[in-house]
């Protein structure tokens, strides 16, 4: 059984935020608008965080850290969902069932990485922007929680295709499978099977530069980072 994971090279990342944008377009996440964004309701399944600037002028340092959902192996969000609207698949993805979600938002407060978003409003796609919606991804209604899915729709389609052709998925076709990886101008992101020791993500995750966020919490995130120099 594969376990899907991601590696992001912080040395290569240029903080351009193409990943955040590609994710939005691929997954039908709408913009919040100035008033809603001002009060903290902009939704970025994939978000580029910046660390606090430290150092003495002019030797100032900060890092850009692209942050999708960690798809933790021990997800705190899945534990607390009262109805199982968020659950862990066999292949390690933390997925959502938008039909079950009652919008209690326990998962959002349980996630230490703050990767979950709630639909305070029904998403707005002012005509004719709704024509650009991706037919492979559902549009979520008001009142439910959503988050990065590692582009599960692309993953399942790729798996289906491979199955039809009677073969397994190749590492080369997985590396740039999610929209964020595919777009990254710096080619700083990798996706693949962490259970396959020869896959790109496995090899990179073994690198001495590799680390994960909030490792000490024991969530075992499946997104690994490679340090900046």
């Amino acid at each position: 059984m594969p376990k899907w994971g991601m590696v992001i090279d912080l040395d290569k990342c240029t903080g351009c935020q193409a990943c955040s944008m590609a994710c939005r377009v691929e997954n039908n996440v709408s913009f919040a608008g100035p008033e809603q964004a001002e009060i903290g309701r902009a939704m970025f399944w994939q978000e580029v965080l910046d660390t606090e600037m430290h150092g003495h002028y002019p030797f100032l340092e900060t890092q850009f850290v692209p942050r999708p959902c960690m798809h933790c192996e021990h997800p705190p969000c899945v534990k607390v969902c009262p109805v199982g609207a968020t659950f862990q698949t066999e292949d390690g993805l933390v997925a959502m069932d938008y039909e079950l979600c009652i919008g209690c938002r326990m998962c959002t407060i349980a996630c230490p990485y703050a990767v979950r978003y709630f639909n305070w409003l029904a998403p707005r796609f002012p005509t004719p922007l709704e024509q650009a919606l991706n037919p492979d991804v559902p549009v979520r209604p008001r009142g439910v929680v959503e988050k990065c899915t590692f582009c599960i729709h692309r993953l399942r389609a790729a798996q289906d295709r491979a199955e039809k052709e009677g073969r397994t998925l190749r590492d080369a076709e997985m590396v740039n499978l999610p929209a964020c990886n595919q777009v990254c101008p710096a080619a700083a992101r990798y996706f693949g099977d962490l259970e396959d020791p020869e896959s790109t993500v496995s090899r990179l995750a073994r690198s001495p530069r590799a680390f994960a966020l909030l490792e000490e919490l024991g969530t075992e995130p499946k997104v690994h980072y490679l340090t900046g120099e």
């Binding site: 090279d9 040395d11 290569k12 240029t14 903080g15 351009c16 935020q17 193409a18 955040s20 944008m21 590609a22 939005r24 377009v25 691929e26 913009f31 919040a32 608008g33 100035p34 964004a37 001002e38 902009a42 580029v48 910046d50 600037m53 002028y57 002019p58 030797f59 100032l60 340092e61 900060t62 850009f64 002012p126 005509t127 004719p128 922007l129 024509q131 650009a132 919606l133 991706n134 037919p135 492979d136 729709h153 692309r154 389609a157 790729a158 289906d160 295709r161 080369a172 076709e173 740039n176 499978l177 929209a179 595919q182 777009v183 990254c184 101008p185 710096a186 080619a187 700083a188 120099e229």
Partner: protein, 772 residues
């Protein structure tokens, strides 16, 4: 030539071979990567190649179309410019195509100009109305009284506009955004285009205000190059030094940020040159064989630009100057790059020459990892324009913008308002606008408004109503880029020629027309000479005609027996390129290529350009002067620096893309608007807290912005992102942010290049009162 050890070179060569292999024929890319159809699920979707127009980089795209609707944009894997990737702007092209505020039909003004009342008319009516007026101007024997103002026209449209103007008999094809680096390259090497940089093989990038990771072109190529410099060559992590007045994203990701007084980058370059010359670190072979004027120039530099003196000019410490010089000369290949912001000071051209001279000093001209000459694709040249009497007469007239007032300018758009308003040269009868919005983008909107009032006919071809097109009499709206054909010769900084081609991805949404087609229809409707000059019935035929040159060359990534077959392949792949680049220098270089690389009168790199003598420009090496700022230090204590964020697209409708507004400033937490960055200690002295509303006032205007206390700001500089502050342009453009262009004083100009010193403005900053 530098003496690189065999070992080092082999290491470089092995890596560059891999890199080159990746860039080589598209066939092997398809085979090796095999990702086109694998990365996304196949379904009833169709993938159509296009070319992004949200910034001048013109990345190759593939657009996923399902049921006739465009639903996702990806990069074109075959295009070496962006190698299958896009920046965040590219992703949002769908929001431009399906934008609620797009114009849906040709419009004719009703009521007064600027009232905002329009009547939709048919295309026949629109074209005839405009053509009739243009015809009248010609028939009166005053063909020159038409002007075409354009701003970063995509693909071959710039050349098409130039041809249109020539055919019409007007010299006034005016580029609203002239370029200075091509002037620097012209003077030193004889090449009239922007230099390219072989960054993938660079080991030391000395960046002078070059926005590598923000707005420098070509966007995605540079982001990839950065990534490659860091991790693409295992064990050989290149070094990047960012010399810049503010700590930008590039500065953050660089190995070192060197704060510098704005406008003094050229002096710093000369200070580095001083050390390189004094310590004899320069590439003697290159200097001896391929340089002209070295003695004169180096003598002048050694006399005047000692590190101590330069330190005082630039505020860069003396030790840093010496260290950077030694690093630059010691690590090879090293390249010095000057950014666009340097152009925009009164000493812009001289500064760029000084910076480029550093490359010559260390022998980084046309070697792997150094400067490359960007070869254009060998398109079929335009046939001569038909010259009848009217055309000949018109073309003999002087240009309205009077670029000859500056030594090397080809375009001086900032002089237009006065020229038009006064009518001293001749009155302007018709002004055509393509993607140009001077009322927003240029300084002194009042002068522009007075000028526009004087012009009897104003026509815009933009698909959105923005500040300037609101003054038009007719609007003939263009398609968005996803609805039309584009052929774009690229300057991807790879050296070898690349032509990106895009086709309509969806049926046009509205009753708009491709600008290229409209130009042709106008020319033919005007009739006479202009009609003859445009024998092609539509723009695609123009493109196919010009692409013929590629077919004939029998070179590059597409070979075909017939022109039809070639065009089909080209349209399907979305790109043609002819790699690899053949360097003139370096161990594997072809010395015969020097002739093409150095096309100055002397056939050498000219430290002291002979073009100056040829044009009777008296200038003393090394040509650098201190910058002249607008505003005195006493009254206006801060330098204002304007910059462009990665999330800032260009062109009509670019400010009306809500996704980009929501990204906007990553290094300061601010979206849906811009801000002014102030050094925290300075802000404290002024009693300004983070997020306070402040006034930023220059000698010619003032704007109100929220302050952001940002540590990466020099004490005497304030930095403002430019591009927002629209009053029109759509529901997500109007009212968002403030426009700093109106603080620029257009009387401060680089006398050599003719460019307004947009970065040379001094301002004062003070807290806004509650009632303001």
């Amino acid at each position: 030539m530098r003496h690189i050890s065999r070992r080092t070179f082999l290491k470089l060569a092995a890596v560059s071979a891999t890199a080159a292999a990746l860039y080589e024929s598209s066939g092997s890319i398809l085979h090796a990567l095999n990702l086109i159809d694998r990365a996304t699920p196949p379904d009833d979707a169709v993938w159509v190649p296009s070319v992004c127009q949200l910034c001048p980089a013109e990345c190759g795209l593939r657009v996923r179309v399902v049921g006739g609707l465009a639903v996702k944009i990806e990069g074109n894997l075959l295009n070496p410019n962006n190698q299958g990737r896009t920046c965040p702007k590219g992703q949002v092209g769908l929001q431009l195509l399906y934008n609620p505020d797009r114009l849906q039909a040709p419009l004719k003004r009703v009521g007064q100009r600027g009232e905002g009342r329009w009547q939709a008319i048919s295309w026949n009516e629109a074209i005839e109305a405009v053509a009739a007026r243009l015809r009248d101007v010609r028939l009166a024997g005053t063909a020159e009284r038409t002007a075409f103002l354009y701003d970063r026209p995509p693909g071959l449209l710039g050349e098409t506009i130039a041809r249109f103007c020539r055919a019409m008999g007007t010299p006034n094809a005016i580029d609203a955004r002239p370029d200075v680096r091509s002037q620097a390259l012209f003077l030193t090497q004889g090449w009239d285009s922007q230099p390219g940089y072989d960054l993938d093989r660079t080991r030391y990038l000395l960046s002078f205000n070059f926005a590598l990771l923000e707005s420098a072109q070509p966007t995605v190529r540079l982001l990839r190059a950065y990534s490659f410099i860091r991790r693409g060559r295992p064990g050989d992590r290149g070094r990047i030094v960012q010399i810049e007045p503010r700590l930008s994203v590039t500065g953050i990701k660089a190995d070192e940020w060197v704060p510098i007084r704005p406008g003094t980058e050229g002096a710093l370059a000369l200070g580095l040159a001083w050390v390189i010359l004094r310590e004899r670190l320069y590439d003697r072979e290159f200097v001896d064989e391929h340089c002209h004027g070295f003695e004169e120039w180096s003598k002048a530099v050694l006399e005047d630009y000692s590190p101590a003196y330069v330190a005082a000019l630039t505020s860069v410490p003396e030790e840093t100057i010496k260290r950077l010089a030694r690093e630059f000369a010691g690590m090879s290949p090293a390249v010095a790059v000057g950014g666009e912001a340097i152009d925009q000071q009164t000493n812009g051209l001289a500064s760029q020459m000084a910076i480029h001279s550093l490359n010559a000093l260390v022998g980084s001209i046309d070697v792997p990892g150094g400067v490359v000459m960007q070869r254009p694709p060998p398109l079929t040249p335009w046939p001569d324009v038909f010259m009848d009497d009217v055309t000949t007469q018109g073309l003999s007239q002087p240009r309205l913008d009077g670029p000859e007032h500056y030594r090397l300018a080809r375009s001086a758009p900032h002089r237009l308002p006065e020229a038009i308003a006064s009518g001293d040269l001749y009155p302007l009868e018709a002004l055509l606008l393509y993607r140009a919005n001077p009322l927003h983008d240029a300084p002194d909107p009042e002068a522009w408004r007075s000028a526009l009032d004087k012009v009897p006919l104003i026509v815009s071809f933009d698909p959105f109503i923005e500040e300037t097109s609101a003054y038009a009499d007719y609007i003939l709206p263009d398609h968005t880029f996803l609805e039309r054909w584009i052929a774009a010769p690229l300057q991807p900084s790879l050296g070898y020629p690349v032509l990106a081609v895009g086709q309509p991805v969806v049926e046009p949404l509205y009753d708009t027309r491709a600008f290229g087609d409209v130009l042709i229809q106008l020319a033919r409707q005007v009739g006479g000479g202009p009609g003859v000059s445009f024998p092609w019935s539509d723009y695609v035929k123009v493109l196919r005609f010009r692409v013929g040159g590629l077919v004939d060359s029998s070179r590059g990534s597409i070979r075909a027996a017939t022109a039809d077959e070639f065009w089909r392949e080209l349209a399907a792949r979305g790109v043609w390129f002819d790699s690899p680049y053949v360097f003139a220098g370096g161990e594997e270089g072809n010395p015969e290529a020097w002739e093409a690389v150095l096309t100055t009168p002397s056939g050498k790199f000219e430290f002291t350009p002979q073009a100056f003598d040829q044009r009777e420009i008296s200038a003393t090496p090394p040509y650098y002067e201190s910058p002249r700022y607008a505003g005195t230090e006493g009254e206006y204590p801060f330098h204002m620096q304007l910059y462009t964020l990665m999330a800032q697209a260009t062109g009509p409708g670019a400010a009306n893309l809500p996704h980009l507004h929501e990204l906007y400033g990553l290094h300061v937490k601010r979206t849906w608007g811009n801000w002014v960055e102030i050094n925290p200690e300075t802000a404290h002295e002024l009693g300004i807290a983070n997020r306070d509303a402040v006034w930023v006032e220059s000698p010619v205007g003032k704007i109100r912005l929220p302050a952001r206390l940002y540590e990466g700001t020099q004490a005497e500089t304030v930095n403002i992102p430019a591009g927002l502050g629209h009053t029109l342009g759509g529901q997500w453009a109007a009212g968002i942010g403030a426009n700093p262009e109106h603080l620029v004083d257009r009387r401060r100009v680089d006398e050599l290049s003719g460019l307004v010193a947009r970065q040379g403005v001094r301002v004062k900053v003070y807290k806004a009162e509650v009632g303001d």
